[in-house]
């Protein structure tokens, strides 16, 4: 899967590793039919938490794969679904859009308080 860890070069994250990120064995939910941009946001967004800039890209790839596989046994059905989404992403994504997100793709701005005025004592 084509990724950009920073704004410079396109790297090739092995599809099986990208699929593990999308399928994440610690969840059991059904993977929806994510759009190309949603795959883009999901994979780069997860990488933002788990990619270690102190390691090389290859070392990160190994660490990430190990992390997911050691957590739980990956479900083949979910992995295949994820691989299909990655294939579509690779076909459709424009180079300049790889890794590119809006703030609101990754974060929700919340202005109202969690505790409402109506909550009872």
């Amino acid at each position: 899967m084509k990724v950009k860890i920073d704004t410079t070069e396109i790297k090739d994250l092995p599809d099986d590793v990208a699929a593990l990120i999308i399928a994440d064995p610690s969840y059991n939910d059904e993977i929806p039919d994510l759009s190309t941009q949603e795959v883009n946001v999901l994979v780069h967004g997860v990488l933002s938490s788990i990619y270690d800039p102190a390691l090389s890209f290859e070392e990160n790839t190994r660490e990430i794969k190990h992390r997911y596989i050691s957590e739980a046994r990956p479900n083949k059905y979910r992995l295949n679904k994820a691989l299909g989404l990655i294939e579509t992403y690779n076909k459709n994504i424009n180079e300049e859009d790889i890794g590119s997100v809006e703030f609101s793709d990754m974060f929700q701005t919340i202005t109202e308080p969690l505790i409402s005025k109506d909550s009872e004592g």
């Binding site: 929806p32 946001v41 967004g45 809006e102 703030f103």
Partner: protein, 168 residues
């Protein structure tokens, strides 16, 4: 009218990060909840204008954006971590649902990973990490005591005025 009689937000701090020339804010709000020692701290994120209109903002690299914001949260909470009993953030999932088909799925994953990352830096003080579902939202908490501990759970449920479901 400020706050509920069981809780007071008594302090707030906001810090700014810069990513590719765009400015974003991380805000921590400190609350007291009767029955819970120390502070209950909520984390919020926004772009600098706090506006729904993102047309002025450029796109940024997602790996950089998430990393910089996560690191900022960690630095901000590290200053007074010993005074925090519960740390958390949440998504309003009803609002997300209405705007984009799979936004809840994507953001829950991203927030869950951010929570794990932050927790790895605070777990010596806040060892327990939980994902909670409430009506209209999903939250992630890091705490000294397990929220499944009956008293803490009941206090939080009462405070939020909502039923809590702890997922893991």
């Amino acid at each position: 009218m400020a706050g509920h009689h069981l809780t007071t937000k008594h302090w707030e701090k906001t810090s700014t990060v810069l990513v590719a020339g765009n400015q974003y804010n991380v805000q921590l709000s400190y609350h007291n909840i009767k029955g819970i020692p120390g502070n209950v701290v909520g984390i919020k994120f926004s772009d600098d204008s706090n506006s729904m209109d993102s047309s002025k903002k450029g796109s940024v690299n997602g790996v950089l954006l998430g990393r910089v914001i996560g690191e900022k949260v960690i630095r901000m909470v590290s200053d007074d971590l010993n005074k925090i009993s519960i740390l958390g953030f949440y998504l309003l999932t009803d609002e997300l649902d209405s705007r984009s088909k799979h936004a809840v799925f994507v953001k829950e994953r991203l927030y869950g990973n951010q929570a794990q990352k932050i927790h790895s830096y605070v777990k010596h003080q806040l060892p327990v990490i939980r994902m909670l579902r409430v009506k209209g939202g999903t939250g992630w908490t890091m705490s000294k005591k397990d929220l499944l501990d009956e008293q803490q759970f009941k206090l939080l449920e009462k405070e939020l005025g909502k039923r809590l479901e702890v997922l893991g």
